[in-house]
Symmetry: C2
DNA sequence: ACCTGAACACCGTTCAAGT
DNA sequence: ACCTGAACACCGTTCAAGT
């Protein structure tokens, strides 16, 4: 991968996390990189190609982090907390959102290739949570609970970021834990 | 309020619920209404004015519905189910989202007047839930729980609509109820 | 191999002009 | 009072032309 291609991805990622895929502008990215907007198309023919590449790297990086978590600990509560930390970290990074979380809201509008990558993020997260929870539950129950935990954490991020207050995220997660929705 | 103004709001509302505020196009709305895009500006000077009016009516309609619910029943579980029904109904309406839920994801990008109305929707919903829950809990605990329930339901809608499957919404809500996050 | 300027059809917005 | 066409600076995209 060329340096310029990586620089484009690095510049575009926080823009999407802050304002979404629709609001991403090739001219803004180009200005941040120091090239002309027409040049972005040499590396990413369409905006969909750029969005799909962003989501693919985001999912790959996230899953690598989660694999590392599982290799280092087996306590279910600690693992799920490590999972939630991905979403918490986005908020503490200038009140940004999970890249795929914000694009899930734009789901109807996304080019097919982008939507497919966003769906893969969801599937990968739910799959990882289900594997962790399967230490305690049977596979079907673990999957249902994993889906509910994933949805609840996404909602917590959405609401907390609407308020620009990571303390709200923590309070909501704490309430999930008290209800034992989260281990 | 003029007929045309109301017709514009009626045409724009499902468009935002499907694709978000950013993707809303004055020219699309104008075509649906049967006027030119420049004419929209006579009724709504800016896109922000239209977005704020949409969110204001949406919140007012929702709160009127919720007030009716409280007037007709006092069972906490039934009231919270009635609350969740707002979000379920959006999904069964061509896989749309809560108007303010989808705009919460675009929060960073919204004109101030729109963001203020979206925030009022969140506050109103959490306030209504807190009043319902205060039948059982003290005020502070009820508010914390109301916030967690609101976030969890928003997340359930986001994830289910990403899959285009209202059954997923029902499954997640059922799991919330089993965990007694929801009454 | 990588970048650019110019053009295209889009967008929200403005405004003078129509009725 | 309400609508319109034309113009403006934006957008993603294309492409012939540069190096």
């Amino acid at each position: 991968m060329s340096d310029t291609r990586q620089t484009i991805l690095d510049a575009a990622k926080p823009m999407v996390q802050a304002r979404g895929y629709n609001a991403l502008s090739f001219r803004d990215v180009a200005a941040a990189v120091g090239i002309k907007s027409a040049s972005i198309h040499y590396h990413f023919p369409t905006k969909g190609d750029l969005g799909a590449a962003l989501a693919r790297h985001y999912t790959d990086d996230g899953m690598a982090y989660l694999a590392g978590l599982r290799a280092g600990a087996s306590d279910i509560a600690a693992l799920v907390e490590g999972f939630a930390a991905i979403f918490r970290a986005a908020l503490t990074n200038d009140n940004r959102m999970c890249l795929c979380g914000i694009m899930t809201a734009e789901h109807q509008d996304l080019p097919d290739a982008v939507r497919a990558e966003v769906d893969r993020f969801t599937d990968s997260c739910v799959g990882w949570l289900a594997e962790v929870l399967a230490q305690d539950d049977n596979a079907a129950a673990a999957h249902d609970r994993a889906l509910a935990i994933f949805a609840a954490i996404q909602g917590a991020q959405l609401v907390a970021r609407g308020r620009g207050d990571v303390g709200l995220f923590d309070a909501i997660i704490a309430r999930y834990r008290e209800a034992r929705l989260l281990p």
